[in-house]
Symmetry: C2
Subunit: 234 residues, 2 copies
């Protein structure tokens, strides 16, 4: 099953963007009448067939619409410090989209070595991972903002902060309640500072552990996302 | 906490290999009397201090030995088809070592696009991940062998095959019993062939699902490894 992406796709404009059309017609050698799936990244998955093989204006005929395709009764928002090495953050985005995630925010922390991160490449990675894992919701990816700005945001649902400092921390898989909205904070390579942790607790974030292993930032973000998906699929 | 690695380290030969010594003395600017940890990758974690700063023969004084450091009452063996793109397999090894794994076997399957894989780079990645995540057991990494050869191996414990074909499959987190030895088979990009799945079932492998998402090979391997660690840490 091959999924194409067009954020402007609708029954009124059933067109593939040029890049997607080129991939379908030239690379995959699709022809008029061939079946494909198209998503708008907003929850709609269209079953369709190729109606014209004009790459500049590739029309498809919609056979069936699946609204809210794969919609889940929970949502995951990861707020994480971008890693010093950009590849690791790109990898994180790909893996979280595969496992299932709704929103990714990037936060610049006291101990962050990286405070800027171009998110346009991440957007492309997220689109590719969404298509590859047959999903119809493109996660929202936000630009880096300071930790102290992020923490002031009013958020619904359960809020968690994963840190390595001393103190009582419950395992995330025990602390999370099924079918909720979750926001999980993960710090930079050198962890959150004690002041940041204190501020997070003050704002209602519950301190959690992701397990016994010391994990890299991007592994911790991915593990947290996986745990929240798993407790909802057990 | 910084961990150094020397597979030949022992109370009789408390020496750092030249590369490790250079990292400690030149890069981290460690000096006589500074504290460090050394593991032999066989379960021993040594607390020690630098006794000489000669890079060619860097001696340390052992203060304390922790045998069976971080030993777990379960073991995870992942047998997986190497990915077409070598980076993805390297990434898999790093993440599995961080999360906790004992043995990784590579299998060439009917639909494998890659049938050879040099494991020496993987060995280095595993060592770095072991040190970084403060572990004292270096996982065993085996060269690629044909699936049909692997499946004949007598293995103790629970045996699972994760595949995407139709048929009854239990979630891995439900099927796995805590504190066991596990072996999990994960197929190539195009999945195991029906004949391979039939053979695995015949050999006592239990079919399992890793969840609702369609995952790439390396993500599936990592997810399986994470699930088996999680059910043992709940």
């Amino acid at each position: 099953m091959i999924v194409f992406y067009n954020p402007q796709f609708s029954p009124a404009t059933p067109i593939l963007p040029e890049e997607e059309a080129r991939h379908g017609i030239k690379v995959l050698r699709m022809n008029t009448g061939d079946t494909l799936h198209v998503t708008d990244g907003k929850g709609n998955m269209y079953e369709a067939e190729i109606a014209s093989t004009d790459i500049k204006k590739c029309r498809v005929a919609i056979r069936h619409i699946h609204p809210e395709f794969g919609k889940k009764p929970y949502s995951i928002h990861l707020a994480i410090a971008p890693t010093k090495n950009a590849d690791r953050t790109e990898w994180l985005v790909e893996k979280c989209v595969e496992l299932g995630i709704d929103e990714i925010s990037f936060i610049a922390c006291e101990r962050s070595e990286r405070r800027v991160f171009k998110t346009d490449r991440l957007e492309k990675i997220a689109v590719a991972a969404m298509k590859q894992s047959i999903k119809a919701y493109l996660p929202h990816i936000h630009e880096v903002i300071p930790f102290r700005q992020f923490i002031e945001k009013p958020l619904d649902g359960q809020k968690f902060v994963a840190h390595l400092e001393e103190g009582r921390r419950e395992l995330l898989q025990k602390a999370a309640i099924r079918q909720h909205s979750y926001c999980l904070l993960v710090g930079p390579e050198g962890d959150f500072s004690p002041a940041e942790i204190a501020l997070a607790l003050e704002k209602g974030y519950v301190p959690v552990s992701l397990g016994e292993s010391r994990l890299r930032t991007e592994t911790a973000g991915m593990a947290g996302c996986h745990i929240l998906n798993l407790i909802n699929n057990s």
